[in-house]
Symmetry: C2
């Protein structure tokens, strides 16, 4: 089938449109690997991890479950005028669970994109919900993922 | 006209596809306002600007022309173990012009998106070229712009 004028052939295997693809594909299919650090580690270690992994956000875990999020901004705020970054635990500077915007691994890419734009965050942790509302972090969904998706759409992959 | 299965109606006024739109629209049409700071200002002032404006990147200008770029990572690196951030000029921590990836205001959105993905940067300064290869910063193109574009495409705006 060739595209008619005014329509753009999406080229998904299911021959469906971009919107349908975004609404029907779980976000876990397109996310990146999460970069995590354990509670009790220092702000200094978090900064080193951020540079080594070249990510904008690190997820803090306790007993393998999500307990907080640390962004470059959080680390920058902590670093200003603070010499002893190796003595400050990440819990002191992270955003706590109750304030974290996340996406369930089975939610759609469309829902994840909507959350990123609505809450004006750079990325979302992709989680599996366990008993007792415990969140296992299995990935991260970022604006880089979104940008790559758009490029793949227009290049017909 | 209603979309056929397998095609997605783009809904641009010119009735053209997303790819055509991205390749024919200048990046200046979709960029955001640039946040700038003058050479000679301190790293501390740059950090304050970054928080006040809530941006990831600040452009450094000299005599109104682009001379450098400062990212959150640059500021974080500068802030580690450094008490006297108000005495360090931004020139000491910025990425200098020769290493900056930018986009001309008349280049297409497609070219800008390609640069963001190829060079793995979060944003690009949108510039007008003046005599003597001087760059006037008139905007910034970010992954947030890309994410909004994708949302507008799929929602038919």
């Amino acid at each position: 089938a060739r595209p008619r004028v005014g329509y753009f052939y999406v080229g998904t295997k299911t021959n469906e449109g971009i919107l349908k693809f975004l609404k029907e594909s779980p976000v876990k299919d397109v996310g990146s690997l999460p970069i995590v650090i354990a509670e009790g580690k220092s702000v200094y270690e978090a900064i080193v991890t951020l540079f080594l992994e070249d990510v904008g956000t690190i997820y803090v875990v306790k007993d393998a479950f999500l307990s907080g999020v640390i962004s470059r901004k959080d680390l920058l705020k902590a670093a200003i005028g603070n010499k002893d970054l190796d003595t400050i635990p990440v819990e002191m500077v992270m955003t706590r669970l109750s304030h974290i915007i996340y996406v369930d691994s089975n939610e759609s890419i469309y829902e994840a994109l909507t959350k990123i734009l609505t809450y004006e965050v750079d990325s979302l942790p992709i989680v599996n919900m366990h008993e007792g509302n415990k969140l296992e972090v299995i990935g991260r969904f970022t604006k880089t993922n979104v940008s790559r998706l758009l490029m793949e759409f227009v290049n017909g992959n």
